[in-house]
């Protein structure tokens, strides 16, 4: 079954205003606008505005010229999507699973469930009644495939039902090609080709369509794939919406609290409640969200992310303590809620007996959590090899407890420095030897005389990633007269046509 909420944005606005269609503030011309790069544009217009000539997609300035009395409100696409998600969960009353069809549709799998409502016609009638009770203008249709149901809901007659035995192409031939869920440019192309109905497409033969759209891979750009999905020759995987219940504990407070010690006490209680809730589910929290409702209606939210799943109340309290320092309680906090949006399975473990924890120190995950909370997200990381021969790209930094990606071994014959400067520092060559290597150079104010050197190791730029004017590098491992070992390179060659004379840089410090 496909459900199409034709006026989802407007219906949501009406629900928020608390007025029925055509009454109250809805009686005047009104439009929801979206900000675009070229100025505000009409996202949805109510019937009064449509009667005045305001069209969806028009610029607000043009619409104002047609209808000077037009009232505008900002559109809320993110809110619409969130509403659609909750609607998809609610729509599972008619079938075991449902999928989103953004921006304003739903697909519900009702296979084998229609008899519970007394047949498919009764099911559709029930859907209409329930959606109307929620204040939504919706059209619904039932068909053997998701594509056919979508086509009927958008372009078919009211309450259309296709039986499994029907010849789908025969029954849908009269629908316009827009019923195939194609992109706008493909629809324009089909209109220029004179193909207006589904029957026209079926009439010209598969080979011609396949040849014309041979390099269009995505289903939305290829009418043949969409046609096959409509008939059911090609499977169309849909992503079902599954309700994930997140553990949540909260405390309502009799008196609003304004002081930190009381809040710490409440948080400790909540952490213990949360530990109990998580333990019951056999899970540990990776992300925790604490929300505190103030008396004046403001909500303070603090988030916490852990390196490994945990439910240890003491650890959670300690991590939150660093985040609560800048909390402004105002006139007081009256409700504190702790929820865990991201959880991972965590088996029960033996509790620490007596004061063992004090002697044994902390675990690695707890240590990393403490460091991350104080120093920030990107401060604690581990180097991970990357498939690149450019030295500064050959390693990237990953979260410390993430799994190491599988990679082939490094080359054992390349000598690499122990440390790499974040940015190669230019060195001033004072005296150059005939073979091209500097004999004397100046770096950070000190003069270095090269006593021994190995090189060059030529590293070419990655032409598939960088521009063609990037210069190659000749790397030398050097040791100066006092024994300091460095990794320097010459950037470019004389006469390579990519800039002036080559420059020298110091990039690494060898052990």
């Amino acid at each position: 079954m496909a459900i199409w909420c034709a006026d989802l944005a407007l219906d949501r606005w009406r629900l928020a205003e608390g007025c029925a269609a055509g009454e109250g503030s809805d009686a005047e011309p009104l439009a929801l606008i979206a900000e675009t790069a070229h100025g505000p544009r009409i996202a949805a217009a109510n019937p009064a505005a449509t009667a005045e000539g305001v069209r969806t997609g028009a610029m607000l300035a043009d619409a104002r010229a047609l209808c000077p009395a037009l009232a505008v409100r900002p559109a809320d696409p993110a809110g619409d999507l969130a509403f659609l998600e909750s609607l998809a969960l609610w729509a599972q009353r008619w079938g075991p699973w449902s999928a989103l069809d953004p921006p304003d549709g739903l697909i519900v799998d009702t296979t084998g469930a229609a008899h519970l409502f007394g047949g498919e016609a009764m099911l559709l009638a029930d859907a209409h009644a329930q959606l109307a009770r929620r204040g939504l203008v919706a059209r619904a249709a039932i068909a053997p495939t998701a594509g056919a149901a979508w086509a009927l809901a958008h372009f078919g007659p009211e309450g259309a039902i296709l039986e499994a035995g029907d010849d789908l192409m025969d029954r849908l031939a009269a629908l316009p090609v827009a019923a195939l869920r194609l992109d706008d440019d493909v629809l324009l192309l089909l209109r220029r080709l004179g193909l207006k109905r589904l029957g026209d497409l079926a009439g010209i033969g598969r080979e011609a369509l396949a040849r014309r759209f041979r390099n269009r891979r995505s289903p939305g750009a290829n009418p043949l794939v969409r046609l096959d999905q409509l008939i059911g020759h090609v499977p169309e995987p849909l992503l079902p919406v599954i309700a994930a219940e997140q553990p949540m504990v909260q405390r309502r407070l009799m008196e609003p609290i304004r002081h930190r010690p009381l809040l710490d006490r409440v948080l400790a209680d909540l952490a213990e409640d949360m530990a109990r809730a998580l333990e019951g589910r056999g899970e540990g929290a990776r992300r925790l969200e604490m929300a505190a409702w103030k008396v004046d209606g403001d909500v303070l939210v603090r988030r916490l992310e852990m390196a490994a799943a945990t439910r240890d109340p003491a650890h959670v309290c300690r991590l939150f303590a660093a985040r609560l320092d800048d909390l402004d309680a105002g006139f007081g906090i009256e409700l504190v809620r702790l929820s865990a949006p991201w959880t991972e399975p965590l088996a029960l473990a033996q509790a620490e007996l007596d004061a063992a924890a004090e002697r044994h120190g902390t675990s690695l995950a707890a240590c990393i959590d403490r460091l991350t909370v104080r120093l920030g997200e990107g401060a604690v990381r581990r180097p991970v090899p990357r498939a690149s021969h450019l030295p500064e790209r050959a390693q990237r930094w990953a979260p410390p407890l993430a799994l190491m990606p599988g990679l082939q071994e490094d080359f054992a014959f390349h000598e690499r420095p122990l440390k790499l400067l974040d940015r190669p520092e230019p060195i001033a060559v004072i005296y150059e030897a005939p073979d091209g290597l500097p004999r004397l150079f100046r770096w950070r104010g000190g003069v270095h005389e090269i006593a021994r050197a190995e090189g060059p190791e030529r590293i070419a730029p990655e032409w598939w990633r960088e521009r063609s004017t990037v210069r190659l590098r000749d790397y030398y491992r050097i040791e100066d007269s006092t024994g300091r070992r460095y990794w320097i390179y010459r950037h470019g060659l004389a006469g390579d046509g990519r800039g002036g004379a080559p420059e020298w840089f110091l990039q690494g410090l060898c052990a």
Binding site: S363, R374, E415, A451, T482, G483, R485, L509
Partner: protein
């Protein structure tokens, strides 16, 4: 008792404790003798060492890594991670650790902490010392920040001795101010021995290291070399630096050099 019994590789580090003797009193007993001379591979029992090094070379961190390996040994079974903490000034002066250049048995276990201030770096060091899953901790702090006073240093020593995790603190371009480290080294780079197959190339790393303060050992001066398997020490000045035959007199220059 503590994890000393639990993990044999740490046991090597500490001198055997007599029954009924507390950890803190051991160094006092041994310092009375103070006859032993340090040599590579000796069990030092030292959990907190400082390495003073110039910032323009990597010798401080390299020696700290070599000493850590010398103390713990290469153990293929030991897959515990280790921590490398740097403050912002140290990061700017001497660069970031580079994975392909780290010793092969250590490179996949590194966890790096880039702290902004010396206070944050000290916090990270202490948290690292209190973690039971870390093999050792290396810190790099530039200069003599106000936060790293004797009290902070003592805090680190106590944490390291209580939890048995070893700390090597590299001090870049720093004065040798008050500190409670059990061993204090001063290190600069030294000319490396020429490799066998290409005498003109730099060889295995070598350092001039001076142990100028230690509780249990006599001070001394060595040229330390990092062979692939172990740390090797020679008395300082025993060998003239050998620069191969790359250094030529000015008369040997080719005319093309101008």
């Amino acid at each position: 008792m503590s994890r000393i019994e639990a993990s044999p590789q740490v046991h090597v580090l500490s001198p055997p404790l007599a029954a009924g003797l507390r950890r803190g009193s051991v160094s006092r007993v041994l310092s009375g003798a103070k006859s032993a001379r340090w040599r590579p591979g000796i069990a030092t029992g030292c959990r907190h060492a400082e390495v003073f090094a110039p910032a323009g070379e990597a010798s401080g961190a390299a020696l700290a890594l070599a000493l850590a390996r010398d103390a713990l040994g290469i153990d293929a079974q030991d897959q515990r991670p280790w921590l490398w903490v740097q403050d912002k000034a140290a990061l700017r002066l001497s660069g970031r650790p580079y994975r392909p250049g780290l010793p092969p048995h250590l490179r996949h276990r590194l966890i790096h902490v880039a702290a902004t201030t010396p206070e944050d770096a000290l916090f990270a060091l202490e948290e690292g010392l209190r973690c039971r899953d870390l093999a050792f901790v290396i810190g790099e702090i530039a200069g003599n920040p106000r936060a790293l006073d004797f009290t902070a240093s003592r805090r680190l020593s106590l944490a390291a001795e209580k939890h048995g995790t070893a700390l090597w603190l590299v001090r870049l371009d720093a004065r040798t101010d008050l500190g409670s480290a059990r061993m204090r080294w001063r290190v600069t780079a030294a000319a490396s021995p020429p490799p066998r197959w290409n005498p003109q190339a730099p060889g295995r790393p070598a350092w001039q290291a001076e142990l100028f303060r230690a509780h249990t050992f006599q001070p001394g001066h060595w040229t330390l070399r990092d062979d692939d398997t172990a740390l090797a020490a020679e008395p300082a000045g025993s060998r003239a630096p050998d620069h191969g035959d790359l250094v030529r007199g000015p008369g040997a220059r080719s005319l093309a050099a101008g």
